[in-house]
Amino acid sequence: MPFIPHTENDIKEMLATIGVDHIDALFDEIPSELRCGELDAIPPGMPEMEVSRLMQMRARADGQPLCFIGAGAYDHHIPAAVWELTTRGEFYTAYTPYQAEASQGTLQLLYEYQSMMTALTGMDVSNASLYDGASALAEAVLMAVRGNRKSKSKRILLPRNLHPTYRRVVHTIVRNQQIELVEVGYDRVTGSIDHAELERYSGEDFAALVIPQPNFFGILEAVDELTNWAHDNGMLAIAVVNPMAMAILRPAGEWGDLGADICCGEGQPLGAPVSSGGPYFGFLCSTDKLVRQMPGRIIGKTVDLDGKIGYALTLQAREQHIRRSKATSNICTNQGLMVTAATIHMTLMGGEGLQRVAAASHANTGKLTQALTSLPGVETVFKGAVFHEQVLRLPIEVTKALRALAAHNVLGGFDLSDDYPELGDAVLVCATELRNEDDIENYRGKLERVIQSQVQTPCQLKPDW
């Protein structure tokens, strides 16, 4: 009986105390016609050594290809200390800190996290995490609708150069509350939000404008102009940012004349491995003014009976366990452990460290762009300045090209042809600080060969993958 400490003797004594003969009697309130039999279709238990063998096999099966995909998940260096500390039992196996006196470790850490996130984004306050970047944006949208006193509408302006999956997730989450998402196109030359198209909505009633920085194409937006435009039109400005970019770019709190009202995004670049997409964490910051509209846990600093500093969950009256159907959100369990990792990560990197990582990623993506566009027919699609991603057009069918590269253990980027067919054979590439010159040359060399072979045998032969 794995993980069950009961001895034969224990069981006997316990049953006697309860006054039943066998354990099954304890289930006698369940109508017998509902009782299920054995779960035969589930495999029998395996000892840890066999599960270990299985998982090693599975982990090895997926290889460790050289990865140039970003598109919302970024492979950055994580100091060894981060996860050695995060997985300490006292962090790993604690519950949400309801009993503050017995949870000061987690509570203080979360307060430190909130401090660091406000430092990074330039916002006033931060919550203690949401599920991920995409659902955080959905919560930000709901928050804006609740928080924008000037707007009577439930309409939101959402740019098309925002991560396509983020747009889908927001749609899934907000649509049942009759919120309308209005898409704004992008400029085909610069890759940034089409200001002319935006201008058409001037004067209309929207609750908020969503501003990505960088946008899904890696391009930097004119955030000051956009923020001011939103405010001039009675909208809140919701910033969706890469937190790593915040280390070097002007923080959301300083955009335009008044700063963004809400800033959210995916926390993964701050200490979470790419690990198949999760667990990551969504962060959500805002101005002081909006704090009571904020979803999720918030930790406050206070004092104990002796006046000693301590930390506790606060503003709980926003939350479902107190306010139930009137809560700001249904979120309960959040992504605490990932926030623990992020807090340790930010501490170890410091401001300078994050800036260096951001700068190195920016530089490497530049080098990658240069290397790949040196190949005949490969070109950048947009003219705007980028952070650490770039859209490239290939001279061959992009889906096939990526498949061919993968067969050579290079993941060549994110295929844009499904989501943005108008861009042709376009791929979104990313080189973080971990992709060095050898890696870039490896990619270049392989792409060169793939292009050559495809150009030589134009589509007649279906390659055998």
Partner: protein, 482 residues
């Protein structure tokens, strides 16, 4: 505070690239004027700070933690170690299927295991926690009614004992939440239910065993009533630990269910998360399951997406939910196997009933003394609060001094001065016995020195905190210069 160790120019040097910052090609106006004010500390200072912080926590790895409704049981260490194999951590979520077969095999098998154990027709793993599972479930209920053109349904029924996420999730899906009272025997008040049901009823959210720690005996009848009214039944799987392998939500008549893998499948709580809240559905709701899901054609695993599942309620997160948590749950399920699953419910129920019996013998009042406990039970300290002026919160805080985490307090709200106690199956008899002894001692203390108990805890890193001040004089972040 980590910022207390911060000094300008100090740095964990080994952690950043050696090159200085240069941002060629980005206009200066877009760059930030100064470094973000993060802590500037050495690597050792960071390690020491966070190691010591961690020691201030109670946790499963250090304390008995009978927090009702939360299923704080042992989190096998192998789940973490194996989920952290380099090949697992380095897989990009958008890696092609050719480089994802190992990972997808785990997910596919987990879908299967969860289907079997809940008796549902199909499972999607993607919700990130219980509440997101609830959202997905209610959204599917709505999608179902909508697809049938049945558009007037506007209410979701929830028992008054329900967890706060239930009504909150209903509202997030655009429904009104309407409360149904609980009878004095702990079961739902069926008459009240009947009168609440109607053409406006979209569905009902239940957990069974319920949050009052007893099995809802008339569940079949309830299912028939709700279905007859055209509503669907939602099962909140937070209490699945109680019935694993004994009775299946699908067999009880539920149409949709979420599971909390961070409870029943023992993935760690991590000081608040992450969790995972997979949803299972009956056949009629299958088309609406959230994506992505994993499919297997006998040779290869592949993702099911918008193309394959046009009626899906859609996506809930940027990728496939909390993948690493799912992997941990998968490992746990393989370690347990079918026998292990039966035993989870058996021994968690044995522990709860034993502990309840012993506490009653020790003079504590059960909220539902006539009922079997499920995997958890409710005590009410009404008597103690009235007679001694020592309330449930005081008991809870005093428990901390004895090195035991407090049970859940004041939930569900309908039982006054309540403690919801869930020992879980991984605790040994002697630890339950010790808990009884401690409760007895505290009762004696409450009689002889009530002030001491009301001031508890006395041995924690801090004494009771001023929550009012925390909410009034909001201090939510350290600021430079503060």
């Amino acid at each position: 505070m980590i910022y207390e160790h911060s000094r300008v120019g100090r740095r964990a040097m080994a952690q950043a690239p050696s090159e200085k910052v240069e941002m060629a090609g980005i206009p200066d106006a877009m760059l930030r004027a100064s470094q973000p004010p993060l802590p500037e500390v050495s690597e050792m200072q960071a390690v020491r700070h966070f190691t010591r912080l961690s020691q201030k926590n109670f946790s499963i790895d250090t304390q008995f933690y009978p927090l009702g409704s939360c299923t704080m049981k042992y989190n096998p260490r192998a789940c973490n170690t194996l989920a952290s194999l380099p090949g697992m951590l380095s897989r990009h979520p958008l890696a092609p299927d050719t480089h994802s077969q190992g990972f997808m095999a785990c997910l596919y098998e987990l879908q299967d295991i969860l289907k079997i154990v809940t008796g549902m027709h199909a499972v999607s793993l993607t919700p990130a926690a219980g509440a997101q599972g609830e959202f997905a479930g209610v959204a599917m209920i709505r999608a179902y009614h909508d697809a049938r053109g049945d558009k007037e349904r506007s209410e979701i029924l929830v028992p008054d004992a329900a967890h706060g996420t239930n009504p909150a999730s209903a509202v997030m899906c655009g429904y009104k939440a309407r409360e149904i009272p609980t009878g004095s025997d702990g079961d739902i008040d069926i008459e009240a239910l009947k009168s609440a049901l109607g053409p406006q009823t979209a569905g009902i959210m239940l957990t069974n065993p319920s949050t009052v720690g007893v099995f809802e005996r008339r569940i079949k009848e309830i299912a028939e009533l709700v279905h007859a009214a055209g509503g669907l039944l939602y099962y909140d799987g937070a209490n699945l630990n109680a019935i694993l392998g004994k009775v299946r939500p699908g067999d009880m008549g539920f149409d949709v269910i979420h599971m909390n893998l961070h409870k029943t499948f023992s993935t760690p709580h991590g000081g608040g998360g992450p969790g995972a809240g997979p949803v299972g559905v009956s056949k009629r709701l299958e088309p609406y399951l959230p994506i992505p899901m994993v499919d297997f054609d006998g040779n290869d695993y592949r993702w099911l997406t918008e193309q394959d599942r046009p009626d899906s309620i859609g996506r809930l997160s940027a990728f496939a939910g909390n993948a690493g948590v799912l992997i941990r749950a998968y490992i746990y399920a393989r370690l347990l196997g079918r026998e292990g699953m039966h035993r989870v419910s058996e021994y968690s129920t044995l522990n709860a009933n034993y502990l309840l019996k012993r506490l009653m013998e020790a003079g504590f009042d059960a909220a539902y003394p006539e009922r079997r406990a499920s995997h958890e039970f409710i005590l009410t300290l009404k008597k103690q609060a009235k007679e001694l002026g020592v309330n449930t919160m005081d008991f809870a805080k005093r428990l901390l001094d004895y090195g035991v985490h407090a049970p859940t307090t004041y939930f569900p709200l309908l039982v006054p001065e309540c403690l919801l106690v869930e020992p879980t199956e991984t605790e040994a008899k002697e630890d339950l016995d010790r808990f009884v002894e401690i409760m007895q001692t505290i009762k004696q203390e409450a009689e002889s020195q009530p002030e001491m108990v009301k001031q508890a805890p006395h041995t924690m890193p801090v004494r009771r905190l001023d929550d009012v001040r925390a909410a009034r004089e909001l201090d939510l972040a350290w600021k430079p210069g503060a």
